[in-house]
Symmetry: C2
Subunit: 123 residues, 2 copies
């Protein structure tokens, strides 16, 4: 698909799609004219990238870990360098911290809303 459709399907500005490509987070073929052409799997990829960005990961890190989270359960993993392992462990641990922080505050907001009489569902 071309960039416009990818943009719509991922609800992501075209500008950003080109940016992600520049940061090597996604790739694209080129049509006879110079138009970018994306494979379908890129849709999910972009969504994942956005999610990670939204959660505070910088593109630099995303680019490093993305290849390791690619397929269902790691189709091809060449020699994993110790460096990469360290990075992954680091990222994994920081994610755990974030989850904890988010969970705590998510709960607190729920409690508050409930105490204030609003919003009885959706804890």
């Amino acid at each position: 698909m071309r960039i416009g459709e990818l943009s719509k399907r991922t609800d992501t500005p075209v500008r950003m799609l080109r940016y992600y490509e520049a940061r090597n987070l996604i790739v694209s073929e080129r049509l006879h004219n110079g138009y970018r052409d994306y494979d379908d799997y890129v849709v999910d990829r972009v969504r994942q990238i956005r999610g990670l960005l939204d959660v505070g990961l910088p593109t630099r890190i995303i680019g490093q870990i993305l290849p390791c989270l690619d397929s269902p359960i790691t189709i091809h993993m060449p020699y994993v360098t110790p460096d990469m392992v360290a990075t992954l462990e680091e990222v994994r641990d920081r994610m755990a911290e974030k989850i904890e922080c988010l969970t705590k505050n998510h709960t607190a907001i729920g409690d508050y809303l409930r105490a204030a009489g609003f919003d009885a569902e959706a804890s």
Copy 2:
């Protein structure tokens, strides 16, 4: 305590503490000389702020929700405006999304590391 100590106790650059104050996330008294003087509870507050920033919340939002997450279980909550309720619900929902995203990727990294033979513990 003065800003230096707060900085150490929260592992936060002094620069940032002044910044958070400028954004109305924390407050401080002033000593006879112009030095800032912080109450003890500010330590936790700063840690919470950092956590929220780290997880992608902008200071503008943090400033809005912080007062609602202040005390153990909401000591004083004046008339909660419908606007505030809407904001809180919005933030709460976005947090849930983030938690889901993080959990998913956290798991994926764990799986990868395990599959790669590294890191057998700490799922």
